[in-house]
Amino acid sequence: MSPEIVLDVRGLTVEFPTRNGILTAVDNVSFSIAKGEILGVVGESGAGKSLTGAAIIGLLEPPGRVAKGEIRLKGERIDGLAGEALRRLRGRRVGMVFQDPLTSLNPLYTVGDQLIETISTHRPDLSASAARERALSLLIDVGIPAAKDRLFAYPHQFSGGMRQRVVIALALAAEPELVIADEPTTALDVSVQAQIIALLKRLCAERGTSVMLITHDMGVIAETCDRVAVLYAGRIVEIGPVADVIHRPCHPYTIGLMGAIPALDGEEDRLTQIPGSMPRLSAIPQGCAFHPRCARTSQTCIDERPLLTAAGSGSAACWHIDPALTGAGS
């Protein structure tokens, strides 16, 4: 029996209509996340990671819009929800950790009040004191030292990493089925990071929570995720089991990404860079969007867009995958 699919995204396309034409920020993206699974989403700055997350919970800011595609949560369409239905989805069924912690915290209310408010909204069955207990235990779960003393402190009285953890606590407050975490550990030092990762993994194992983890930190991906999707210019260029994507990447872009990571034992004077940079949305190259930066480019790459095909133990979108990895060559 295959595991239950919690999130299923098919052909998701996000567009921004502008005076000079339509910009496509997320282009025909498909993936799914099973119950209790953690899917990592990586890719360079501007690849469309945050927008993919925002589209799933209906938080695209106009003029941004889902132009094509279907999004299902446990089989139920959730794209196109509005009003009360959308509000119930957010927070209750899908928890979101935003990339900018400050944008999800209200500076005028204490951290404790915000947590208790979220808990009471989604769990009206809880008494005031039970909601308060739960708020406190969430803060302890995310590793806020002296949580009891700080429940009623304001966001500005917390350090950057502490605010980020409060946002994580808020996302988990209603025990959602799916958590979309956008760079949840960027401001965290390794020890707290380890604690948050352990917490996420525990939620997945014990409660079957599914997680979409957006991060550029490959160390975190390696340690946390079951599978990983690599995004480039709004498209998935490679997706597969985490160990394979990290150790035996198939796509030239993934290979480049892996080389850019500074190593703790490294003596290297300069870090490997992928030449060039991510294209602007208004100038995404035709064919394979990566071709101006790729060392393997051929005429086919310039003319035709590669689709995801089996490669290694996952799939990749590239015309010139090392044949040894596709199993086709040898």
Binding site: S45, S50, P145, D149, L188, D189, G219, A263
Partner: protein
């Protein structure tokens, strides 16, 4: 250390008042409470150097950064910039003229960019504030150059912050910090929102600028690989105190303080998929009610009686400064 430190922190302390509101305090009979975010921290940064501060979340890194650029007033001690006490009213006028020389990249890039301004104007602001350009054309040319430097397109200058991704916003913040041609940049997690590829570009850029203009950095990062790559010297903070200061090479090759050792052991390793990393032992102590003696003693495998009563001071050992009784007593 060096006689010509560009930045010198002398016995720097910062306490925040975290008392409950007056009425509540009176009713419950509770006194005022303070949180010591930074205690008795001293360090020197020489021109052209990259001094990094590392330590767990809440250890006081951002507070020190804000003290260095004058955004917080110190509760004790002082910051001396190129011979001037930045808080001394007598040197206030002189320091105002020197402001241009220190720039800061904030930890939260979104919060530090005014959402109503176009990013071209955000980057140009220091140019006008410090009278660095004669006219709009000159400002525009400089903004374009800065945008290109951080791998954004000059055409992006007309956009607003919300139209950028997280990493793109962080690059705008970097461009703005570079605008006034500073001598010192205080970088609070400058690359934390950046993917590895842009991070590599930004770190290489920071190094090139340093070589070219002899820039001095105070670098705050929780990413030890980044620190390893960039820093000449590293200071390790634990609950507001420096527990070890050493050249980067020495620190990573031979960490001496028990806390530094614990920190290095907790780094996730890309090469070990699915490995359970060495968990950091114990809880971070309550910063409002610090443990007496060495604040690390409840978590320290080497703690003894003395550790629970005496605060260890920095002592020099093999080119590093370490604040630990065990190191001093030779029972590492």
């Amino acid at each position: 250390m060096t006689s010509h430190a560009l930045i010198r922190a002398e016995h720097l302390s910062k306490a925040f008042d975290v008392s409950k509101p007056w009425l509540e305090r009176t009713l419950s009979g509770e006194g005022r409470r303070t949180l010591s975010a930074v205690s008795d921290v001293s360090f020197d940064i020489a021109a052209g150097e990259t001094f990094a501060l590392v330590g767990e979340s809440g250890s006081g890194k951002s507070t020190i950064a804000r003290l260095v650029v004058g955004l917080h007033a110190a509760s004790g001690g002082r910051i001396v910039f190129d011979g001037l006490d930045i808080a001394d009213p007598a040197s206030a006028r002189q320091f105002a003229a020197e402001r241009r020389r220190i720039a800061m990249i904030f930890q939260d890039p979104y919060a530090s960019l005014n959402p109503r301004w176009r990013i071209g104007d955000i980057i140009a602001e220091p140019l006008y504030a410090f009278d660095l350009v004669k006219n709009r054309d000159e400002a525009q040319a400089r903004v374009d150059e800065l945008l290109r430097l951080v791998k954004l397109d000059p055409l992006d200058g007309v956009k607003f912050p919300h139209e950028f991704s997280g990493g793109q916003r962080q690059r705008v913040a970097i461009a703005r910090a570079l605008a006034s041609n500073p001598d010192v940049i205080v970088c609070d997690e400058p690359t934390s929102a950046l993917d590895v590829s842009v991070q590599a570009q930004v770190l290489n850029l920071m190094r090139d600028l340093q070589d070219q203009f002899k820039l001095t950095y105070l670098l705050i990062s929780h990413n030890l690989a980044v620190v390893r790559h960039m820093a000449t010297r590293v200071g390790v903070l634990y609950l507001g105190r420096l527990v070890e200061v050493a050249p980067a090479k020495t620190l990573f090759a031979n960490p001496r303080h028990p806390y530094t050792r614990m920190l290095l052991a907790a780094v996730p390793d890309l090469h070990l998929v699915g490995r359970a990393r060495t968990a950091v032992q114990g809880e971070i102590a309550n910063p409002i009610d610090l443990p007496p003696g060495c604040a690390f003693h409840p978590r320290c495998p080497l703690a003894n009686g003395r550790c629970t009563s005496d605060i260890p001071q920095l002592i020099s050992r093999d080119g590093a400064d370490i604040a630990c009784h065990a190191v001093e007593e030779g029972r590492e």
